[in-house]
């Protein structure tokens, strides 16, 4: 499979000599959706800014569809890689939504007619048809986030990069945004998402890299979430669904492989119920309390002991 992004041994220091990235190597294949997991200050945003040449480092190399940053025209790389920034107010600098979404296509040198078509199509993809004449300061945060995405979609990049896409969003807007990211991936776009929203990870990606200045681990999302020690080290945790099924396991629910998302849990429950004559049997057995204490300690209060003998 063709590599969309290939980073080799990238290191980066800011001007004040703070080390932001150290010997980072990662590959993202065409059409894939990959998540970059890491705590605050892990260098996720810094890494993303390297993907279209805004930040450059002398140590290491970055190739986008086998084209190096220094090989050719940086504009052609920026056309291929679209970054959706964390704060939409940074991304929307034009006086109206239309002008903002049109900014990229105009810079690509498209005709006025094509610019109009791209704007209409991008706004329709994020569900904001008819918002063209609105001013950014009159939009809600969720709407601003969607316009920020539209400003990138209108450039029709092959690789879409999201920096904390779900931060500060209300649940409905968050769900809609996750759906849009999934749709874009199913349409063939390569997606890279930097996030610490662990509940969103299983929904949007199959593979993940854990970054904390350097790459600490990589693998399938399942493999990463099975590594509890690693998650604790980088201030992350497993999705809520995993916690619930671990608790169910204490009550005798039989699941060796824990589901990571709501969709997977529906599949799992359906499979279990169908295999057990139409019902699930839960009970308190001799090790339930002990196991519950262990789950609670691990996920909820790692520094505190509980007594669930009275359950």
């Amino acid at each position: 499979m063709k590599k969309a992004v290939c980073i080799k041994n990238l290191s980066f220091r800011y001007q004040d000599m703070t080390l932001a990235l150290e010997d980072v190597s990662l590959d993202v294949f065409e059409g894939e959706s990959v998540v970059l997991l890491g705590p605050n200050g892990a260098g996720k945003s810094t890494l993303l800014l390297h993907l279209n040449g805004i930040l450059r480092s002398e140590k290491g190399s970055i190739e986008i569809f086998e084209e190096g940053m220094d090989d050719g025209d940086i504009r052609s790389i920026r056309k291929k890689v679209g970054i959706v920034f964390q704060d939409p107010d940074d991304q929307m600098f034009m006086p109206t939504v239309f002008d903002d979404v049109a900014f990229g296509p105009i810079n690509l040198g498209l005709s006025e007619e094509d610019v109009g078509k791209r704007v209409a199509s991008a706004l329709s993809m994020v569900g904001l048809t008819g918002y063209g004449n609105k001013c950014p300061h009159n939009l809600s945060f969720g709407e601003k986030k969607r316009v920020a995405l539209a400003t990138i979609l209108s450039m029709e990049p092959e690789i879409l990069v999201f920096d904390e896409p779900t931060s500060n969003m209300d649940p409905k807007s968050r769900t809609e945004l996750i759906r849009t990211i999934k749709e874009l991936n199913s349409e063939g776009k390569t997606i890279i998402t930097a996030t610490h929203d662990v509940n969103a990870v299983p929904e949007i990606a199959k593979r993940a890299y854990v970054l904390n200045k350097t790459i600490l681990a990589y693998g399938t999302v399942k493999e990463i979430f099975e590594n509890a020690d690693l998650l604790r080290e980088v201030n992350l945790e497993v999705p809520e669904v995993v916690k619930l099924f671990e608790i169910l396991r204490c009550f005798g629910y039989n699941c060796e492989e824990l589901p990571l998302s709501v969709e997977e849990s529906i599949e799992h429950l359906t499979r279990t119920i169908e295999g057990k004559d139409g019902h699930v049997h839960l009970h308190i057995h001799e090790h339930t309390h002990e196991q519950l204490n262990s789950v609670i300690d691990r996920h909820f209060h790692p520094h505190k002991h509980h007594n669930f003998d009275k359950i």
Binding site: L49, N52, I54, R75, R78, K79, G82, I83, F85, D87, D89, D90, Q91, M92, F93, M94, P95, T96, D99, A102, F103, G104, I106, N107, L108, E112, V115, G116, N133, C135, P136, H137, T151, I152, M155
Partner: protein
């Protein structure tokens, strides 16, 4: 609730000025403003003020809305009215002990007031009758230097973001017990808050620049502007520019 400086709040109204080509409107009214502020005759300046008021009425922009902005203009103009009558040499009108009010002083102060208010009033029909984005496009289409257009555009766009940032900082200060008092602590705290706002603005400007470069920015901003000139746009321009020139022709005669 934050009071945003939305000069284009009434851009959706319908009036002959709203329905005027933005480029012709900008140029025509700007000529009229320059014409009025360069007048040296008080009577003609009053005629200019009347023209400005008429144009404001035609534009249908509510007076209450205009009044809010004129308050700030008065803040800068009224000191002239308080100082000039006492400081300009000339024919004495009244005398209070050592202070004397002169006819020339009153006339000059009035002249400055009338010219400033006329110009301020004309700003509303000029840029308050279209979306600010349209004003930007008109400026760009009129070949105003792109750097200048960008400065106007960013100032307008980010004034809202900065207002809301300042508002949230003040709110956070108030919720932690800060209150304006007559003590050194108040200006010190406000100074620090404003300093932080500058730092935040600087950091934001870097992030905005990154976002712009990501989308192909190389120094110039271009927008699409589907303006079309019609005969009636010129017909509206004639009386406005006519008055602008006429005022100075009269000034020559007077």
């Amino acid at each position: 609730m934050i009071q945003y400086p939305e000069i284009d709040r009434y851009s959706a109204l319908s009036s002959p000025i709203h329905d005027w080509d933005p480029r012709v409107k900008l140029v025509s009214i700007l000529i009229l403003i320059f014409s009025i502020v360069l007048l040296y005759d008080l009577k003609l300046a009053f005629i200019g003020l009347i023209v400005a008021v008429i144009m404001l009425f035609i534009s249908k922009i509510p007076l209450r809305f205009v009044g809010v902005y004129l308050k700030w203009v008065s803040f800068f103009i009224l000191p002239f009215f308080l100082i000039m009558p006492f400081t300009v040499q000339g024919t004495e009108l009244y005398r209070f002990h050592v202070l004397s009010v002169t006819y020339e002083g009153v006339t000059y102060a009035l002249l400055i007031c009338v010219r400033a208010f006329s110009a301020a009033l004309l700003i509303f029909p000029m840029i308050g009758t279209m979306k600010f984005g349209t004003t930007i496009k008109a400026l760009e289409s009129l070949k105003v230097p792109n750097k200048l257009v960008q400065m106007v555009m960013f100032t307008y766009r980010y004034i809202f973001v900065l207002t809301s940032e300042l508002q949230s900082m003040l709110r956070s200060m108030n919720s932690r017990g800060f209150a304006m008092r007559l003590s050194m602590q108040t200006p010190r705290t406000l100074g620090k808050a404003i300093g932080m706002l500058f730092v935040r603005s600087y950091e934001r400007s870097e992030r905005v620049y990154n976002a712009m470069v990501s989308r192909g920015y190389v120094g110039n901003i271009r927008t699409s502007h589907p303006f079309k000139l019609r005969d009636k746009d010129w017909l509206k321009a004639f009386p406005v520019i006519g008055i602008a020139i006429g005022l100075h022709c009269f000034a020559g005669i007077v």
